[in-house]
Point group: C2
Chain length 410, copies 2
């Protein structure tokens, strides 16, 4: 069973909005054993939407559309779907009731444009959009279906999880993905180690390399025909081949690996950040449950903050520079003591675009890790672009922390 | 002149990677007056790529592909392009030299898989990929062109800016976008205010509503035919209609608006974050030049940090709760004093999924702003999902700060 996604909205095609919906939908569909064959982004434009619908129905059994369902003039998806499925709009009393309740505390939202939201295509099945005013619509085309959802990510996610996925139901074709993560080896060297393994794989099993910020994810995918047991055996073989570099046998992001390990051990962490500017703290707090292991951070962008809140002596900054082993070790020690945690991480580097020197070019980052066994630091060269440098610094900081926590366990 | 983007990679269609490239490319193309008509994401699969190429060339003059250029077996773009353009691979001495230099300090990367990177399609024009091993390839199909780039965002961006965009050159059709941002009014109420204006617009001018986290961007776009002067007049009319709600006459994100205002005034800021956990600090530091106005932050996720580093009395937390006006005001005052800045922002809320009560459900967030004139706070209900709540809290915090800084100027 194949699905396709059509994301509708000019904002996607002029770069005003990044399409995060498709990746999320892809993951959910895969979990249900439904292959997502293609994603297509089109304009809020009648002819373009109709062409995309025709093409998608030519390839897929399920077509999911996002976007274009607002009450304003630029949103035309509902009208185009009416035309495509040769139907017309009628008032839906349940949707009307839902919208009245949704905005009961905000009468300023209830106006004649909002009222167009309870007009629905006569031939469509209507599912409730619990958190918004645009109803979810299911259309049938022979044995195929189309589901239309809002483009706002929060609304789309709730719609998919509570309504659309249960509607589609669990399908028969089973797709299995298994991922492990390695670090400390170039992609091409890894591929040489795995060459014979790859050649020996059945034709319906596929190995993919996904490098990002110094971690390479190896994803083994079976598109039908394999049993769980057969996949387990192939995955075990893969693991044994890359054991020296493997940091995880799951697809969990590095911040989740660190968080889970800390929770498992009942330990806590703090960060002292200069160049990463809060990104590392935000990453550690991204997922629910972080209050169990994350206590706090001191973000010391300015040197005065390093001196006053992290007790870095002004002389050390003067003698060694603010991006130095001495400074970053002092930052890690001070924040661990001040916040009272088991572990801490500190970063200091040159994120650019200015501030680089010949000795310490843009991309130079010192990272320190403090544990009950002591504090150590390492220097990295992490590229040339601000976002790249700070992303990679966070990943390096978390890999280093994970290795040290695991080292102390042994 | 129309372009299309084809993003190639299984990882995009199983949800392992979010496609951030397309939005970035869209923005760059629009700046050059090139309309991006469609984005299509396809699998690393011969037939699928060929079908997408045929469709894209049927609609567009320029086809840009990203991804599938690595040295590993799962990457097949180069081979499929050879087949599509009926050519074969030859060795390219310049690319070989470039790759040798690129990896001169890392001999472990130079192996026989890396060596496949300097094989290029005979009919393609080869442009230098300064930061990676996969050469950039330009193919011609009559008057149309195809440019193939790596999928790694950093490499793709440098390739586009330094090579592909200059190659494509400045085209004639001028697309003009003008954006302003409003807050404090529902989308549908805004649309009623703007109804006559929208109806009066020429057919080639389009108004779009882009709501996100409490800010609605209004984008006025002209697709050919309008002069700058005519667009300026329409934009001025739009501005006057929404003057009461307008917070910016540009497309700059809210953190940039705050940063620019602080730089203009020579003022500084700090944050004390509980529920936002560093996200606000990271946002203020996202863009280059933040060291001019951002000094530091104290992230106090755990109550002990609020007590010890932000001087919040344990009795206040006990009496009022940690998510309260008193606590958040104390946090804002303490961080402004400790870090020594002109302004500060503090957040404390319930990001969920647990921790909510009947009086303070998940989504309750207190935000305080401290200025030389005093400290004030406001309570918000920001939704039900962790990411939504923390994103909206950051936006509310920054809108509130911008309004207060501007208020002090008057």
């Amino acid at each position: 069973m194949r699905a396709e996604v059509i994301t509708i909205g000019d904002e996607l095609l002029i770069g005003q909005v990044v399409d995060t919906n498709s990746a999320w939908i892809a993951e959910r569909l895969n979990e249900q054993g439904i292959e997502l064959y293609q994603v297509t982004s089109v304009h809020d434009e009648r002819e373009h939407i109709i062409a995309a619908l025709n093409e998608a129905f030519g390839r897929a059994d399920i077509v999911l559309t996002t976007g274009g369902l607002g009450p304003t003039k630029d949103d035309i998806t509902k009208h185009v779907l009416c035309e495509y499925f040769d139907t017309h709009l009628i008032e839906d009393a349940r949707v009307r009731e839902h919208i009245m309740q949704l905005y009961s505390a905000r009468p300023d939202v209830l106006n004649r444009l909002t009222a167009t939201q309870w007009l629905v295509p006569e031939c469509a099945e209507i599912l409730e959009n619990r958190v918004g005013s645009a109803p979810l619509m299911i259309f049938h085309k022979g044995a195929k279906i189309l589901a239309s959802m809002p483009g706002v990510p929060y609304e789309m996610k709730i719609a998919m999880e509570e309504q659309i996925l249960p509607y589609i139901g669990r399908q028969r074709t089973q797709i299995i993905h298994k991922t492990l993560q390695v670090t400390g080896i170039p992609e091409s060297a890894l591929a040489i180690i795995l060459e014979d393994f790859e050649t020996s794989l059945p034709s319906s099993v596929h190995l993919a390399y996904l490098p990002k910020d110094g971690i390479i994810r190896l994803r083994l995918s079976a598109y039908g025909g394999q049993t769980d047991k057969e996949m387990d055996a192939l995955f075990a073989e893969l693991k044994s081949l890359v054991a020296d570099y493997c940091i995880a046998e799951t697809d969990d992001p590095i911040e989740v690996l660190v968080g889970n390990k800390l929770k498992e051990l009942g330990k806590t962490i703090a960060t002292a950040e200069s160049c990463t500017g809060g990104k590392l703290a935000a990453l550690l707090n991204k997922h629910a449950g972080s209050s169990a292991f994350y206590y706090g951070s001191i973000i010391s962008y300015d040197n005065s903050v390093k001196e006053h809140l992290l007790d870095v002596p002004a002389e050390t900054i003067k003698a060694r520079g603010v991006v130095s082993e001495e400074v970053v070790i002092q930052m890690a020690n001070a924040v661990r003591r001040q916040i009272g945690t088991d572990y801490s991480i500190a970063t200091s580097g040159i994120a650019g675009p200015t501030g680089g020197t010949k000795e310490k070019p843009v991309g130079t980052v010192w990272i320190a890790w403090s544990t009950p066994e002591g504090t150590t630091a390492e220097c990295f060269q992490l590229g040339k672009l601000r976002e790249q440098i700070t992303d990679r610094a966070c990943t390096k900081a978390l890999i280093g922390m994970l290795e040290r926590i695991r080292g102390l366990e042994d």
